[in-house]
C-alpha cells in the first residue's frame, strides 16, 4: 500500500475509533490548582511531576509540558501531551505580592512582569491544543469573567472541555454549584491535592478527548 493509501486509511480509522493521541491543556485562573492537578496526573501515570506549587498566585509563569503520558480507562487508553499553563487573569498587581505575600518590591515587580508574560503564553497555547481540562476552584463563585472568557473561547473553537471542580477536600466547596453553572460540559469534582475522585477524571479524559472534534479556527 502506498503512502497515500496509508494516510487515507489512518484517517478513516481515526474517524471510526477516535483519537489515540491528543495535546491537552490544563487551564484556569491563578491559584485554582492547575499544577497540583498536572503533578497528580503525572505522578499517577508516569511517576514524575510537572512543577512546584505555592499559595502565592502566578507560581507557574511559563507553560510546562510532558509528552506521551499514557492514561488508561478499562480496555481503552489515550496518549496525551499534558500542557500545564500559567493562570489566566485580567489584572496583575505587584503590590498584592508585597502586601499579601510579603515579597520585596523588586521580587514582586519581577513576578508581576513574568506573570503578564505567562498569561500571554497561556492564551497563545490555545491555538495548539486538542482539548482542555479547565480547573475551577469549587469554593469560589463560578461565574468569574476569566472562567466565562476561557469557556467562551473554547466553545467558539469547538474544543472539548472537562471542568475539574477542584478543592473538594475543603469544607466550603460546592461542586454542585459548578455543575449547575456549566451544564453544557462534564464537571468532575476532584481534589488534586489528595487525589480524591481522580479515577473519574481520568476515565472522562480518555472518553471525552478520544472523540473526534472538528476544530474551528479564528
Amino acid at each position: 500500500m502506498g503512502l497515500f493509501g496509508k494516510i487515507r486509511l489512518s484517517n478513516i480509522l481515526q474517524k471510526i475509533f477516535g483519537k489515540k493521541h491528543a495535546k491537552i491543556g490544563i487551564y484556569g485562573p491563578p491559584n485554582v490548582g492547575k499544577t497540583t492537578l498536572a503533578n497528580r496526573i503525572l505522578r499517577d501515570w508516569t511517576g514524575d511531576i510537572m512543577g512546584s506549587v505555592s499559595d502565592v498566585p502566578h507560581e507557574t509563569r511559563r507553560a510546562k509540558w510532558k509528552k506521551d503520558v499514557r492514561v488508561e480507562n478499562g480496555g481503552s487508553h489515550l496518549i496525551m501531551d499534558i500542557v500545564d499553563t500559567p493562570g489566566i487573569a485580567t489584572k496583575v498587581d505587584f503590590k498584592e505580592f508585597m502586601n499579601v505575600y510579603g515579597m520585596s518590591k523588586e521580587e514582586a515587580k519581577t513576578r508581576a512582569k513574568e506573570a503578564t508574560e505567562g498569561v500571554i503564553e497561556a492564551i497563545k497555547w490555545l491555538e495548539d491544543i486538542d482539548g482542555v481540562v479547565l480547573v475551577m476552584d469549587s469554593t469560589q463563585d463560578p461565574f468569574t469573567q476569566v472562567n466565562v472568557t476561557i469557556l467562551g473561547n473554547l466553545e467558539a473553537r469547538n474544543l472539548p472541555v472537562i471542568i475539574a471542580a477542584n478543592k473538594i477536600d475543603l469544607e466550603d466547596s460546592s461542586p454542585a454549584t459548578l455543575k449547575s453553572a456549566f451544564p453544557q460540559h462534564p464537571v468532575i469534582p476532584i481534589s488534586a491535592l489528595t487525589g480524591y475522585n481522580s479515577d473519574n477524571l481520568y476515565s472522562m479524559m480518555v472518553k471525552h478527548f478520544s472523540k473526534k472534534h472538528k476544530k474551528r479556527w479564528r
Partner: protein
C-alpha cells in the same frame, strides 16, 4: 479618538455607555484599542454590545502587554454570557451574540458578586478619570 467639544470636562469618575452602533463600525482591533485607551485614562465603559469570546481573550492579551506596574494594573471586565444559539445559527456556524459588558480599570472596580441575574460591582473610592 476625537474629543467632542460639547462634552464638558468634569471632575469625578467617568462612566461611558458605548452604543452598539459605534461598536459595529469598529473592527475588532479598533474596538480593543478604543477600549484599552479609554480604560487606561481611568474611564469605565459599558458596552451595549459586548465582545466576542475571541475579542475577550485578545483584550486580556493586549491588557497584559500594556500593564505598567505603577499606573495600570489591568482591567475588570464583567458581562453576561452570550445568548444561546438558535438551531439555525448552529447549523450555519454563526457565533453566539455577545451581551452588555462593563470594562474598567482594575484598581477602580471590584466585582463583588455575579450570577445569572445580577452583577454587583463596587467602585473603589478615591480613584477615577484623569
Amino acid at each position: 479618538m476625537e474629543v467632542n467639544p460639547l462634552i464638558k470636562k468634569e471632575e469625578g469618575i467617568s462612566f461611558n455607555l458605548v452604543s452598539r452602533n459605534k461598536l459595529d463600525k469598529l473592527s475588532s482591533n479598533e474596538k480593543l484599542k478604543f477600549i484599552l485607551n479609554e480604560v487606561k485614562k481611568g474611564k469605565i465603559l459599558v458596552l451595549e454590545y459586548g465582545l466576542t469570546p475571541f475579542e475577550q481573550t485578545s483584550l486580556i492579551e493586549n491588557t497584559m502587554k500594556e500593564i505598567e506596574q505603577d499606573t495600570f494594573i489591568g482591567v475588570e471586565m464583567e458581562g453576561y454570557e452570550p445568548e444561546n444559539q438558535t438551531f439555525f445559527q448552529k447549523i450555519f456556524g454563526i457565533n453566539k451574540k455577545p451581551r452588555i459588558t462593563m470594562i474598567g480599570p482594575a484598581d477602580l472596580l471590584k466585582t463583588v458578586h455575579k450570577d445569572n441575574n445580577m452583577i454587583q460591582i463596587k467602585i473603589i473610592p478615591g480613584r477615577g478619570a484623569k
